[in-house]
Symmetry: C2
Subunit: 205 residues, 2 copies
């Protein structure tokens, strides 16, 4: 979203690559576009990166990692007292924050993982799994508190929720809607997808 202003050339190229990548896709991201956005001639990129692939790979790694770190930190900051439902709400909010407001690195990842050549996926696949593990942890906490919907296909539920969140990069426009409304709607969806229908009155089921 926002381009950091005064920063080293290498960072500027990396950020430009994230932006172009998230708009044009893996194959469509031209080195010349990236260089132009970073206010350099194309060959300058090679002073900082071995090749186009190395550059793109690093964008992906940074993007994947920043989502993991941002959401993890947000959850950590809640402290030990927070219940599973509150933590789920916070995770939804944090994911949307990093996806929509933080930078183009996150969207570069979500919009391109599926289209990357195999070799490129290796590096950040581990971080991807680690992020899934965070969400699986949230489901486990919900379960421990008796909030998780019984008989739930956990993997499917986790991916559906993350899919809804990731897809926001395709349509959400800060000019068009209020971020907090989006968060509220997304939280409702996540709760609906994961928790039992009547979590507050289990005796009525």
């Amino acid at each position: 979203m926002t381009q950091p202003e005064t920063t080293g050339t290498r960072e500027r190229i990396l950020a430009a690559a994230a932006t172009v990548l998230s708009r044009k896709g893996y194959a469509g991201a031209r080195l010349s576009d990236i260089a132009e956005l970073a206010e350099l001639r194309t060959p300058a990129v090679y002073y900082y990166f071995d090749s186009r692939e190395h550059l793109i790979s690093e964008v992906m790694t940074v993007g994947q990692r920043s989502v993991l770190e941002y959401v993890t930190r947000a959850l950590d900051e809640l402290g030990a007292g927070a219940g599973a439902a509150v933590r789920l709400d916070r995770a939804v909010e944090a994911h949307l924050e990093v996806e929509l407001s933080q930078s183009d690195f996150a969207t570069a990842v979500t919009r391109n993982v599926g289209q990357l050549p195999e070799e490129l996926q290796e590096g950040f696949r581990a971080d991807g799994h680690r992020y899934f593990a965070v969400w699986d942890g949230l489901l486990a906490e919900l379960d421990a508190e008796g909030l998780l919907a019984p008989g739930l296909d956990r993997r499917a539920a986790r991916m559906l929720v993350l899919g809804a969140l990731n897809w926001t990069a395709e349509w959400w426009d800060p000019a068009h809607g209020d971020f907090l409304d989006l968060v509220e709607t997304a939280r409702r969806m996540a709760r609906g997808a994961l928790t039992a229908s009547h979590p507050l009155h289990p005796s009525l089921i």
Copy 2:
């Protein structure tokens, strides 16, 4: 997903283009790959299509339209007696069917709309809006039956649900999970996102 076997050459090229497009993205879809999948030499494509862009554009149009038609028909077949909740469930199922089992046309659309050059989007933008209208209709029906969550940001809710469904193309693998489980989980999510928390016991709220 599945490639129809005995069909006209033009259809074969179109289907091959859908497959390549859904795997490699707009910029990454090479005419040579498409031709190879269609068991032809590259120049043969030009006998049926004016250019790469025309071919891709037609894939998109077909994909967008097939989703619209498939889901619309599924809803129509429910007949007039079906309530809003049942119709929502059917729409979720139908969307997943066409996205995951029908063909690569649908996934070619969902995985590429965001990355297409502006000119290419024109043709099928209208169908996209028509499809959104179908879902807005479902929300209106839920509302009419008093099932819709009060104070809901309808646009956000609609896009979150569709995002979750569209994203399945990125991760769902028929070998890895049961389709009906996925449908059930997705229905739960859609209901959770759209309907009031206690639709059956409104008096308890």
